[in-house]
Each structure stands twice: as C-alpha cells, then as structure tokens.
Symmetry: D2
Subunit: 304 residues, 4 copies
C-alpha cells in the first residue's frame, strides 16, 4: 500500500502546476504551490502517509459536512426545514435561487448559503460558544486536541468576506437565520479557518466510512443516518460544479476546500485526506483530484 | 384649477381602499390609510393644493432621482461607470442581475442597488457628512429649511433593512461601493426617512420641469442635462414594475415611494406632489396614480 | 434645415466604421457598410432628405410598434392580457423570464417574444391572410403601395430563426399563442423582411408624432391612445438595452432594427427615418444614433 | 424474499392515494391510479415479483440513462462536449441555463434538454433509423423482443410537446443539435412512449448493477465505465429535484418517469423495477419511492 500511494502521488505531482493557489482570500495566496500530501487510514486504523501529509492548511468548505452533522445532532432533521438536500447547478457562492425560487431556502448545506444557515442552527451552551462547540466536535472526531484557528486566514476571510456577508443578510431577511448575522458570520469565518492536516481529514473520513463508529474507541459518535446524509450530499454536491464528473471518475464521497484539501471517505474501507493547494477553475485541487481518482481506480473504491 | 384638482381628488378618493399601507418597514404600517392630498405649482410659482397636502410622510424612493443628481454634481457622469441607465424587468430590491450579468453593476439609479451605489459616491466634506450634504441639498431645492429625518421610520428601516444590507455587501464585493458599507447603508436609511409634504415634492417637480432653473430665485440649481437624466429615468424606471404602464396612462415623469407619495414633473408646465399611503402590489399609491392619470388627461400633460 | 441635416450626417459619417453589419441573419451580412441616409418630414408634410435615403433595407424590429398597433386595432387592449407593457433588462431574444416569472407573458411587445405574441393576435379575414393585412396596413401608413418582402432576407431568417422558433413554441406551451406556431413564425419572418426606405420610416414617424392623424389626408388612421402606447413603449424599450441611455441622450421615441434603420418620432414636430447598417454591440446603428442625438440637440426635440 | 417484497408492497399501498396520475401528457391521465407492482432480479437471475408487475407503462424518462449509453457506444465520451455531467437545481424541463450560462450546453443527460441532445447524437445506419436502433438496443438489454411503442401516448406527447420543441430549437440555435429538429423530437417522443413492464426495468437494472455484463448470457453488453457514468448520474440527477433526498433515504441509483415507473439498480446485488402511476409534485411515484426506500433499508442496499 505504501508503494501504491507513493507511486500515485509521484505520478500525479506534475498536475500541481496545472492549477493556481486561491487568492480570493488574500492570506491563502501565500501558500507554497508545490505541496502535495496524502494520508489514508484503513479499518484496522493503520495509517498510510506520503509527501506533505503533516502540513497544516485551513479546513475551509471541508468543514461543511461536519457542521451539518453537528447541527443535526443539535436539532434533528428539522435542520432541513431551513436548508434543502438537493444539488444545485449554480456556483457555490450563488445568491440567485434565494430570490427566484419560492419558498426560499439554500438548496443544500454544502454551498455557502446552506453552510451559513446550518451553522446558525448550532446551539450555544452556558459553557461553550458556538465556535467552541464546533472546535470541540472537530477535536473529538479527529482525536486531535491541538486543532486551532489560523488567525491570519480568519482575519483575511472576515475582512474580505463581503459576498458571504451579502448571503447571510439575505438569509436573515428570509428569516432563515434567527440570531445575530455578524455573530453567525464570525463563527463561519473562524470555522473555515481551522488548521488541519491530511491525517485529521483521513480520521474524519474513516469515521464517516464506518457509519459513525469510531474505530479507535469502538464507540458510536454519530448516528448512522447522519453519516449517510453527509456522504450522499458529498457525492451530489461535494466537489462544487464538478461533483457529477467526480462521481463518475472517482465515485467516492468527498468534499473539497479552497485551501486545496480534499476529505474523502470510501464506505466501509478507508478514510482519506489529500492536500495540494493549486486549484482548477472549479475551485478543486487539481493534483488532489488526480490522486483520488487513481487511488479509486487502483483499489476499486467507487461506490457505483 | 382649484376646482379641477378638488374634483379629481374627490372622484378618486374611493381608490384609497383598493390598496394597503406598506408594512415591510413596520413603522410605515401605522399610517392612517385614508389620507389623500395633492400640491401643484405652475410656472408662475402659483401653488394649488387640496386635501392632506400638509401631511408629512417619508420621502423613501422619491429621494433616488435627487441623490442621483447630487452624485452627478459631485462626480460628473463617471457615476455611470458604477451604475447603469437602463430599465430592469426585475423587482426593485432584486439582487439577481448583480450575479448573472457581467460586468456587474446595478442597472439604474432608481432601484435599491443603484441608489445605494449612487449614495456611496456622494462626497463628504470637512464640514458636512454625507447625510448632511444630502439634507442640505433637499432643503435648498424645496426651499424648506425645516426638513428633518423621521427618527422612528429611520430606526425601523435600519433594523429591518436586511435585504438592502445584503445588496450593499454584494456591491462591496463587486467593488462598486468603496467606503464603509454600514455607513453607506446608514445614510441610505436616513435619507429614505426624511419627512416631506406634497408641497415639498411639487417644488422639486417644478425645478425638474424647468430643467434645473429655480423659478423662485430665477437661478440655475442643476445643469439641464442632469435634470434630463433624472426625468428620463423617472419615465423608464420611476414607478417600479408599472413604469411602462404609467408612461402610457399618465405620460409624466414620476417617482413613487412606499410611503405613498409620488413626485411628478410635467416638463415646462407643473411640479406635482401627491400622497395617499395605500399601495397596490407593485408598491405604488393606488389613489395617487389615479389622480395623476386624470390630471394628465384633463390638462394634456403627457409627453408622448 | 437641409444644411443642418447634411452637416450633421457628414460630421457623423465617421462613426459608420465603429460598428459591424449584422451577420446573424446571413443575408443581412451582404449589405454595404458605408451607407448612411436620412429622411425627415415636418408638419407641413415637407420632406428633407440626405445621403442614401432612397436605399431599401428590411424593416426588422421597426415593424414591432406597427404590428402592435394593428393588433390593438383588431383586439383592443385585451392584447395586454397576453403581453405586458414593461421594459426588461434582458436581451431582446431572451426566453428566461417566460420560465421564471409567473404568470408568464412576454414583458412587452417590442422584444421578440412580445412581437411574436402580438402578431399571433392579428386577425385573418376571408379576403386577406395575416401577412397581407399587415403589409396593407404598412402600405396605408407609408403611402407606399410598392412595399414588398425581400425574399432573400425572408428565406435567410426563416432558415436560421431557431431562437425565435424556440421562443414561439414556449409561447405556445404557455397558451399565449393560439394558432399554428409555424404559421405565426412565417408571418413574423415575412414582416421583418419588408423592404422600406428612410422616407417610409419618416412617414410612419410623422403619423405617430401627430397622434394618429395622417397629415397628407387629414384623416385619423390610428386612435390617439394607440399612438401614445406605441410612443411610450418606444421610449422605454425601443433601442434594445440602450433604451435608457438613448432616452437621456436623444429623448425622442424611436425603434431600431438590425438592418441598421431607426424609426423616430418627435411628438408634434417631425417624423424621421435614418439608416446606416453598421451596429454596435446592442444591435443599434452607430452612426444612426449619433445623427439622431445631434438632430435632437440642435432642434431641441427631447420630450424630457 | 417473496414475503419481504409482498409485505413491503402491501404496507405502502396506502401511499398510492397521496399522489396524482400525470395529466400533462393527456393520454397518461387515463391510467388506473391504483396500480402498484414490483419486479426484482438477483445475481442468480432469479426473479421476484408482486402486484401489477406485468402491467405495461411507457418508459418516459427512464429511457434517458439508456439513450445516453447508446450515444456513448456510438460516439465515445465526446458526447460530453455537448452535454454536461452535473446535477442542476432547476426543473427537468428548464431552459433558463441554456441562455444564462456560457458556454451553453445542457447540464446533464437526464434532464429533457440533455436527453434531446443525447438522442441527436445516436447514429442512423443504412439499415436502421435512429428510433429502430434505440428500440433494438432496448430489446437486447431487456431480452424482450416484444417491446413496442404505445402509439396513443406517442401521438399525445407529439401533439402537446411544445415545451420540448422549444428546448430543441434552442439547442439547434446553440448548434448542439446538428440534424433536423423535428426528426430528433419525433425520436424523443417515440422513445419515451415505449411500453415496458417492471420485469423489463429489473433486467435493465441488473445489467447496470453488474457493470454491463449480462448475467443471462454472461456476455459484456456495455463497457463498465459507461455503466458507472449512468449510475452516478442516476444518483445525482435521477429523481428530478428529489434526487438528493432520495440518495439519502434510499441510496440506490434510480431513474423515475412520469408514467410512474422507477428503474433502480443496487450495485452488485439487484435490478429492480417498480410501478405505481400516482406522482408527487416532483413527478416521482409516491408509492414507488416508498417501496424502494423500505426495500433498501431492509436489505441494506444503500451505496453510502
């Protein structure tokens, strides 16, 4: 397996130069474009790694399936009264359908509008703020107590996040967000800015691949149904406007982020995290997708 | 003329009950629905009034042609680099075309997006804030030094104006708004909340009908071209999604507001202000439009 | 006046090279790009001409206000049950709002969808087909019995008119078109292909400028109200997505066609036809618009 | 297994009354609303049936994954130069994105625009027309030589199919359809009108579930990759605007049709056909979906 992983990574390293590091969050633009790493965990909790797998990058949209799960744990499926389950043919930061489709709600929790709505439903407690609860949840499912927010990226997102701010106020106007908009946005920007590594992603992927049972502790952390919800949404909407093509080519539930990471989960088999910061026009890591496709083909991971 | 005006008002008073007072700004919902008033000034500066013409109401969208003119006075026609001149078939508070049409800018200065963009271009001086400059300009063109903001309506708009907030942050993301978004919005909400009467509107209308020369002082206040810009936009976009029908039925440049006022200007003839707070589905005063249509027919005011 | 017209034309002749002859109807692409002509008639029925004013070109969209008037003569204002009166911010051949706005009808009679719907309402008689009735009406209002269809252009439009065909079948699906779709389309393509000259356009413009009274025969041909409908629509929607800018710059009701002609009508003053086949991106004749703007400024023709 | 199937069908029979038989194709409206049937085939080619499984109904949109496969067999993956692979948040018969998204092509082969485009790419031979080739392909993969077109439904669709006609002419204008539009549409209407039973659907589903190897003949009929393309598209786009929810609830690649049938394929396990003509607002069979969901839960068929 180690040989397989290393040879796949090396064969696809050339694709690093086909994409560009995201710059719309200025702080992200500073990343070294040549990074490429992978971590993969099997059902024996054996971990395989290669390349820049220890490198930290911000979780960005890869947080979206997880904040959805936490919102489901908090509220049950009435979450879906305020956000849909359906894929969209529009861009991830689109606002159009909130105006044109009635009744209006974000089409799914993996686009920005849906993720912002979902985060607004996560509860605060006497002891923990919403952000703290989310980070604690991420720590629990990654077994990584060292997770923390990348302050530079957070401040950069907060400063330049006017499109997300526009979306959030639209959601407020639609009464989809109940609480204070700036507070919800602050949570959203902070959560997107949590630093993770490929290993963290692989652990999350393994948890999902095992329907919510943590193979390290042998304990159920998430109800099976919520993991199925997350995985099916990752297939239909996880890779922006390449989700359909990625389902065909790779066939593994996955969620990408503009930092260049991809969280993938091969049901009953592996949790996988890959990272390479150069993105194609759709916002997906070029080399990361290539590595996942070849891994899927070699190990016959497609669910289809 | 007094007889004509009073008979037209009385004949159309019944239409007051066909509309509803706007409630989306909660404070507006408290207005007495039975009010109906008119003021009209001719080229001899003779004023004709009837009904509740002294009643105060907030200027709302009727401010939009005026803030456009002030932005033109401040910046010249490079205003139109950031906002278009074309009518739109979309609702006044629509955000869709900002996303779908490239390059993106508000289609015209009389929809909310365009008015917010326009206000952001009005300059502040060492002595006066943007709001103060706008109010001073309104005082000058109405000859009414007593103009002031209705604080209750302002606070109500500010509190509930999330759709406008969404539009403004979208404009910020598009780099159409340069300055601080909340500051621009605060100006927008304050300006919309300036109390006026039918007489104030009629004076503004007369100024426009005389191509920018103030008949009281015999001085030019606005360049002719800017008044033509304002009047042609009032015809193509002044009455929300009834602008086309109103051009046919009445044929006089006009701008309505959700408070129930209508500012009208019959070129070379009259300035007119009408007020009746009950609106139709398009957001225009039902009785106000009826009065203007009949006045236009009786006095042959249509420009077509 | 002759001097004025000739000097304006010569000064603006240079703009001929700033546009391109339309090629989406292949037959139109064969036109000599250097043509430029004008005809203008005053209330004494005196005609002023210059340049290529005798040149024939197809009437194209300039037919739309006229087929609207004939549909109004046939059906009265229930025409507006099936087509609106409002300007649109969408392209002339757009189909989007037919799907997204409910209840669905074309926004106005001067966009393709609206014109096709309008033509479908023109009646056939025992003696005359719909096309014949339209041509007879055009002959009557131009005093030109020699009007005829340009067969090459007609066949070219019919062959390549799939976008219009798409629109027409959508209208059929919405039950806005009652009759046979291909028959309505055939009429539409034939009517667009009627050859006219600047003189024909000027005569039509004069009729509209005099509210429907023919100054040659002193007889009323069209009810005043229908001419006001046509003129106000020409202002709000006559120049494609430059209608707003043209209202500001020129201020005269006008309708352009992709052949390069513009039909203009200065209320109570002049009927005007200009022709120059090179178009800007919006589909309007570059030199034609320049000539009309300068004429309006020099003769103070703006209605605003 | 027989007991399981019959008990699931009987428990969900009550949902038959929650939907309505489709009437937009008038001929479909004549179907008995109380029908409910299922057929299921396992890898031993053993068939399980219950209820009205022999009843014939038209294949409608269930043909779309199959015509895609035939187009792929004819052209290879350059099919995807003219039609995308991505889910859409718009209705199945939407035309909007063809106008608003550039470059324009149908988002996927399972919406009407995409299916019409796909069918236009299926080749004709000296011996067989396009329709004949499609029917022959359907006969081959169903092992049912008796398949034939329901003439009443075909004529009904052809007569009322103006929305599809509008879509097809738009595709022609975009040069996505090369050939004669009416011929392509005729093929489309005929193919949608092929009569099938639950048994036919189950056989197709089994072929897809086995990656294109026919378990009856042990021969490969379709390349594995094309079956993966079909199955992944069925998950992301197979159940109209309930595809996302169905992926969560049932998790089995499926394609519904307005006749009330659903073609389902549980990878490596079963081919399934269900039929019940009463549909919900999304156009999916209410009882049919319920039966599939329960079957998936009981037999743990979800791919997620």
């Amino acid at each position: 397996m180690e040989n397989l992983i290393s040879s796949i990574v090396e064969e696809n390293r050339k694709y690093v130069s086909e994409g560009k590091v995201a710059t719309y969050i200025p702080e992200l633009g500073k990343t070294d474009p040549n990074l490429l790493g992978i971590a993969m965990i099997d059902n024996d909790y054996k971990i395989y790694t290669y390349g820049d797998y220890q490198r930290k990058f911000t979780i960005q949209s890869m947080s979206k399936p997880l904040t959805l799960i936490l919102a489901l744990l908090d509220n049950g499926e009435k979450v879906f009264e305020k956000v849909g389950m359906e894929p969209t043919g529009d861009p991830f930061n689109s606002i159009v359908k909130l105006e044109t489709v009635k009744p209006s709600k974000p089409l799914n929790p993996l686009i920005n509008a849906g993720a912002i709505a979902t985060i607004s439903m996560i509860k605060e407690t006497a002891k923990y703020t919403r952000v703290e609860r989310i980070i604690n949840f991420f720590k629990k499912i990654t077994h990584n107590d060292a997770l923390e927010i990348n302050e530079e990226v957070y401040l950069s997102e907060k400063k330049t996040g006017n499109r997300n701010r526009s979306i959030a106020y639209f959601l407020k106007d639609l009464k989809i967000i109940d609480g204070d908009v700036e507070d919800v946005l602050d949570t959203y920007f902070r959560v997107c800015s949590i630093n993770v590594s490929c290993v963290d992603l692989a652990r999350i992927g393994l948890l999902l691949s095992n329907d919510g049972v943590d193979l390290k502790t042998k304990k159920r952390v998430i109800p099976k149904r919520y993991t199925k919800i997350a995985k099916s949404l990752m297939v239909t909407c996880g890779m922006y406007d390449e989700s359909g093509a990625f389902a065909i080519e790779c066939g593994v539930p996955a969620k990408s982020g503009v930092s260049g990471g991809i969280l993938a989960t091969a049901p009953s088999e592996y949790g996988i995290g890959v990272f390479s910061p150069t993105l194609n026009k759709s916002g997906n890591s070029v080399a990361g997708m290539r590595v996942l496709k070849e891994l899927s083909n070699k190990l016959d991971l497609s669910i289809f």
